[in-house]
Symmetry: C5
Subunit: 104 residues, 5 copies
C-alpha cells in the first residue's frame, strides 16, 4: 500500500456497467515525510474518505478485495483512512486537528 | 486507474484468437493538471471512446473485469470516459466544449 | 499493452517444465513515435512474430490468457503483430514494406 | 521480493472490514548493499517483524498468499525476516548484533 | 520476463510457513547487452541456478506458476537458466565457458 492525500474527484457518466455508482477519487501520492511525490492515482473509495484526508490505497488485483470493488474493472482502492503514522518512534503525521480541505 | 487521452489506433490482423474484434487504442497518459506525461499505453476499449477524449483506464488483471475483456490477453482497458475532474474544489477539466480531435 | 520490436532470441535448455517448447523473444519497447525507449522485455510468442517485427505485448497475469501460456510461469506475451498505427489521424508506422530484419 | 527495513507504523481506525486487526508497517526499500533507495511501501506483517529489522516483502497478488492476508485488500506483505545476505560469497549484512531500533 | 545474474543469497529463518525450504536468491537485473542496470530482485529458484549464472525470472502472479511456488507468498521466480541470447542475429552472450562465480 502507499500513502496518499485525497485531492479531488473525477466525474464520468459513460463507464463500464460494473462501475456505476462508484466514486472516483484523485489521490496524490505522498512519501513517508508527508510530502507529495508528484505521482497520483484515481482510486475507488471503500471507506468514505473526504477531500484532504490522508489515506492508504491498494493497487492491482488487491484493489478488488473489498465488497465495493469485487469483480470490478478497478485497479486502485482506498482501503484505510490514516489517523497517524510514525517513523523511528517519532510521529510524522496526526489527523487532529483535521485537515481543513486540500492542503496542497 | 490513470487519466489518459485517446491519441490513436493500432491495427493488427495477426493476433491471439481471443482478441479478434477488439479495438486497440493508443492512450497518452496525462497528469492531474491535464498535461501529458510522456507515457502511453495501448488499451482495449469497453466504453466506446473516441479520438481526443479523456478517459480512465485500468491496468493489470483489473483490465479483464469487463464483458469485453474477460479472459483475454489484455492488460489495459478504457473503463470510463471522463466528463470532468476537479482538484481541491476547482474544476481542472470539463468535456464541454468537446475536444475537437487530438489536442497534442 | 505496449508496442515493441522483436530484437532477438533467448535460448534456455534448463527451465521450468511448463515452459518446454516455448520461444523466448527479446522485445525492445518503442514509444508511439516508433522510437526505442531503452527498455526491453523477454516475452513468449503467441502469434508467430519474426525478427524485426513490431508487436504488441501484454504483461502480468494477462500474459497467461493465451492457449500457449495458460498456467505457465510467463509474465509477458506477444499477442498481436502490428500492421500499422496512427496518432491524431496520421499514420506513424505501416508494416509495408516489411522491415528487413532488425532495425536497430 | 525486495529487501526493506521496518521504519515505522501507520495507524488507521477507519478501514475496510477485512483489514481489522492488521498491522500496517512502513518499510523503507534497501538495495543489495543495504542502502536505502528512497522508496517505501506500507505492508502487512505475516512474521512479527520489529522496528529496525531487515525484511523481505512480496507485492501484488502474491502479498495475499499468507494466512493473514488471504482475500484482503493488501498488496504488500512482509513474509520473511532477514538473518543475513551475501553477494558474490561476501556477507553484506548479518542481523547480529541485532539492530538497536531504526537505523536511519 | 527479464534477464538477471544470480549475485547472492538471502538467509531467513523466521518466514511465512509456506516458504520453508525455499531458497532466496539475489538477482541483479541486466539489459540486453548483458550490463547490470542497478536494479535487483530477490527470487525463489525453480531451476537450480548457481551463483553467477544468467537467468530469466518471472514476476507477479506468474511467479507462482511453478510447482515450487504455487500458492506461496512469492512474487519473483527464476524459471530458466540462460544458455545464450542473440540480438539482430548476433550472439551477445553464451554460457560457455561457464562464468567463474559472480562477475560484478
Amino acid at each position: 500500500m502507499l500513502l496518499g492525500r485525497v485531492a479531488g474527484t473525477v466525474v464520468s457518466t459513460q463507464k463500464d456497467p460494473g462501475l456505476v455508482g462508484q466514486r472516483f477519487l484523485v489521490v496524490r501520492q505522498i512519501d513517508v515525510d508527508g510530502q507529495e511525490t508528484g505521482g497520483y492515482v484515481v482510486a475507488n473509495d471503500a471507506v468514505g474518505a473526504g477531500l484532504g484526508e490522508v489515506v492508504l490505497y491498494a493497487a492491482g488485483s488487491s484493489a478488488r478485495q473489498t465488497e465495493l470493488t469485487k469483480g470490478k474493472a478497478c485497479d486502485a482502492v482506498i482501503m484505510a483512512i490514516v489517523d497517524s503514522w510514525e517513523i523511528g518512534g517519532h510521529e510524522v503525521y496526526h489527523k487532529n486537528p483535521p485537515p481543513s480541505g486540500s492542503e496542497d
